[in-house]
């Protein structure tokens, strides 16, 4: 419950003032048009046979116009707006009319109102007060008093007295001495206009309290009208009853007093109850507020990140305790300073740009800039910030990013270093492999030449030794070739195309069968196509098919090799299954490692690089490969490739 919420009430007050102004203009215009053919419609059957004077009607009409013109405070009216001058001018005219009438019938007649009904002194006074009030509607004394209000209250008293006079049938109340009486219509309009003058400036002076939603305002609004109405009604009842002789004056006083006590007790009790309810509500809300403040303080004191509130001028309003550790400043040192003072010169423009986008309603998360610490050191900060439109403030959180950035930098450096040393290792391996090939060729060459030239002088066993020398050299040559092929895989870029998988498998199969005696029956099922590097993928098929045919070769015509494929969501999966010697699942981990073999060289030839190549190619495509097998029952190799071929290339292990 804050004073701000009284806006609705104040708007209604201003509307009431405007309505009364319009009513005064309408009623008086109608009265003037009807005058002097006075019609009773407007006044009804009242005890006074007199009609309202033309002068008072003109006065009230002008007052209505003045109030209408002044319904907007002067400060809100343009410098050159006529309303600025016309409103007070009309107020002055009303005052003059009242003044002339107040000076007595002689002056009144001399002023040109000769044929008119004379105006009563009370009506003249009301017009004077009304005119002055309208003239000084926006005037406030140095001590904060508003003369217009005092005049309005006086007016209300005079007109109310006249109305009471009519209601209680006491002539003295509406007729001052022997002057002309204030007619009821003038009294009602005067009273309404007095209220309207008060209501026209609902947030100034006395009215500020009457329209506020504070306890005082509430009490005032409840008690004042209620007690006024009660007193009026009971006074009237007492008077009327006495006049009709229903009871004596003494009894009347007693009944009146008792009724008063009863009614006021009820009123006070009712008000007290309301006050209590409001106070309980306020206590509850204060308690909530106190807890919120305590929580707020706890957060501000304990947050490891710096929490800060910045106003629309970019100045710190609140800074949490973490600033001491993070920025080197005590929070109190920063309050009122622009945050830009702390921003690193190179980050000023960037920061201002982000700040203005935050203020336009785009919360910033993950913005990073540099602050200069009090000790002159530079600190990197990660920011998260939101602009509150209702509070017109920016709430932001700063996290020390120095460590994060250092870690990232270290990671980047070591990744660079790793890439460099990888590259060096590869080129070293490559050139060593080349240099190793030459002596191998010579070993094989000389062994062969010895065999060619001196073969007839060597017996069988010695010739076998020579063969063994040559075979070993050749096998080492193949090892080197495979190793080179394997190392080249990580340097080669992937060239992805839509691959006709069936055609690729057929071509790999024909190459495999050219170099291996093909005993097995190979069945190739339908295979889904996929985007991949065709040359590399063919290597995968060649290696898997070579293995399947090699390891099922001993079965002769009973050897079966099955190639199948299917699409599974976002991946394609291919399988090569054979019914050959299989392998022990305990060693499945070794299967895809370089130079790891599960069989003896003289059992099955091979270098132990083929499956390592398969795995490297598949993982470079973002896929995976695995194997299942059982000794003597065959093996199944499965590889999966993603259908969306745009995945980043996996880094080679």
């Amino acid at each position: 419950m804050t004073l701000d919420e009284s806006g609705g009430l104040r708007r209604r007050c201003a509307a009431f003032a405007a309505l009364v102004a319009a009513l005064a203009v309408l009623v008086c215009t109608a009265g003037l048009v009807a005058w002097p053919h006075y019609v009773r419609i407007l006044d009804g059957n009242l005890p006074v046979t007199s009609v309202p004077g033309r002068a008072s009607q003109v006065g009230l009409l002008i007052a209505g116009l003045a109030l209408w013109l002044r319904r907007v405070p002067t400060a809100a009216v343009g410098e050159r707006d006529v309303r600025r001058y016309l409103g007070p001018l009309l107020g002055a005219v009303v005052f003059l009319i009242g003044l002339v009438a107040f000076m007595g019938p002689r002056v009144f007649t001399a002023a040109g109102f000769g044929q008119d009904t004379p105006m009563g002194a009370n009506s003249a006074l009301v017009l004077c007060l009304l005119g002055m009030a309208l003239l000084m509607l926006d005037t406030t004394t140095r001590r904060g008093l508003r003369p217009a209000e005092a005049m309005a209250v006086l007016m209300a008293l005079i007109t109310l007295a006249a109305l009471f006079g009519y209601a209680y049938r006491v002539g003295e109340l509406y007729t001052i001495r022997d002057s002309y009486p204030m007619v009821p219509r003038t009294a009602i309009l005067g009273f309404l206009l007095a209220l309207a003058v008060l209501c026209a400036r609902p947030s100034a002076g006395l009215m500020a309290l009457a329209t506020s939603t504070s306890f005082g305002g509430t009490l005032l609004r409840r008690l004042l009208p209620a007690s006024m109405l009660m007193l009026f009604a009971m006074g009237w009842l007492r008077l009327e009853s006495e006049r009709r002789g229903m009871y004596s004056a003494e009894l009347g006083v007693a009944v009146f007093t008792l009724a008063n006590i009863t009614v006021f007790t009820l009123l006070v009790w009712w008000s007290a109850r309301t006050m209590q309810r409001l106070e309980l509500e306020r206590d509850a809300s204060e308690e909530r507020h106190r807890k919120a403040v305590a929580l707020n303080q706890l957060i501000m004191a304990n947050s490891l990140d710096v929490l800060c509130v910045v106003d629309d001028g970019g100045r710190f309003i609140k800074v949490s305790s973490a600033a001491r550790k993070q920025w080197g400043y005590a929070p109190a040192e920063l309050i009122g300073r622009p945050y830009a003072d702390l921003v690193h010169p190179d980050d000023q423009d960037r920061t201002a740009e982000v700040a203005s986008s935050i203020m336009s309603g785009q919360p910033a998360v993950g913005f990073t800039n540099r602050f200069i610490r009090k000790d002159g050191g530079v600190i990197w900060l990660d920011w998260s910030a939101t602009w509150s439109r209702t509070a017109n403030l920016m709430f932001s959180v700063a996290r020390d990013a120095t460590e994060r950035l250092q870690v990232a930098e270290t990671l980047r450096q070591s990744a660079d270093e790793l890439a460099r040393s990888n590259h060096e290792l590869e080129s070293f391996a490559y050139s060593v492999s080349h240099d190793l090939r030459a002596p191998l060729r010579h070993i094989d060459g000389y062994a062969r030449m010895l065999e060619e030239d001196g073969g007839d002088r060597l017996d069988g066993e010695l010739r076998r030794y020579l063969d063994e020398i040559g075979a070993s050299a050749r096998r080492m040559g193949r090892l080197i070739d495979d190793l080179l092929a394997f190392s080249r895989l990580s340097r080669q870029a992937l060239n992805r195309f839509k691959v006709d998988m069936r055609a690729l498998v057929d071509s790999a199969l024909s190459e495999v069968s050219a170099s291996h005696p093909l005993a097995a029956t190979v069945a190739v099922g339908p295979l889904p196509n996929v985007a991949a590097d065709p040359a590399l993928l063919k290597q995968v098929w060649t290696n898997l098919l070579t293995n399947a045919i090699k390891y099922s070769g001993k079965l002769g015509a009973d050897a079966r090799v099955e190639v199948t494929g299917q699409t599974d969501g976002t991946t394609v999966r291919y399988q090569v299954r054979d019914n050959g010697v299989g392998f022990d699942m305990r060693y499945v981990d070794k299967l895809f490692q370089v130079f790891q073999r599960l069989h003896l060289q003289d059992e099955f030839e091979g270098t132990g690089v083929g499956l390592a190549i398969v795995q490297r190619i598949v993982s470079r495509h973002g896929g995976r490969v695995w194997a299942e097998g059982e000794l003597g029952r065959g093996a199944t190799f499965t590889f999966e490739l993603p259908i969306a071929g745009e995945q980043p290339e996996g880094n080679m292990a």
């Binding site: 490559y430 080349h434 240099d435 090939r437 030459a438 191998l440 060729r441 010579h442 094989d444 060459g445 000389y446 062994a447 062969r448 030449m449 040559g470 050299a473 050749r474 080492m476 040559g477 193949r478 080197i480 080179l484």
Partner: protein
């Protein structure tokens, strides 16, 4: 000193490789005469009759078998020199090397090599390739002059 015209100039720093190549070429009867030099510098001297080859018979070999990696001056430098010179521009050159490195292959073809042959480890394959190269360039190919 009228020597028979040289059919092949073998540029090879490895004695063993040279011996194996020479033996194969001679045994198979591909060529009559092969001149063997040990590196790029000697190859250039031979081709342009400089240094110790200043007095040699003026004819150009029908084929140059060029090793890639050699001391002093390597095969690519010899090839570049040959292709710049009018006298050797048209002489067929076959690179015989252990290197499969793409960069080497690309550089050789860019410089205008006629063939690029990788020496296999297996001696019988090696011999077969040498013979194929020799036969092709000596017999099958129509050379200039």
């Amino acid at each position: 000193m009228s020597q028979p015209r040289v059919d092949i100039l073998l540029v090879e720093d490895s004695v063993a490789d040279a011996e194996m190549t020479l033996r194969t070429l001679k045994r198979q009867g591909v060529v009559n005469s092969v001149e063997w030099v040990r590196d790029g510098v000697e190859a250039v001297e031979y081709l342009y009759r400089e240094g110790k080859f200043a007095d040699r018979d003026p004819g150009m070999p029908k084929l140059v078998l060029l090793d890639l990696k050699m001391p002093r001056m390597d095969g690519l430098q010899v090839l570049a020199r040959m292709r710049e010179d009018e006298r050797t521009k048209a002489v067929p050159v076959v690179m015989m090397t252990s290197s499969r490195e793409e960069g080497d292959v690309l550089a050789s073809y860019t410089l205008g090599v006629n063939s690029y042959v990788v020496k296999p480890v297996d001696f019988s394959e090696f011999a077969e390739r040498v013979v194929q190269v020799g036969l092709y360039w000596m017999m099958a190919n129509q050379s200039i002059g």
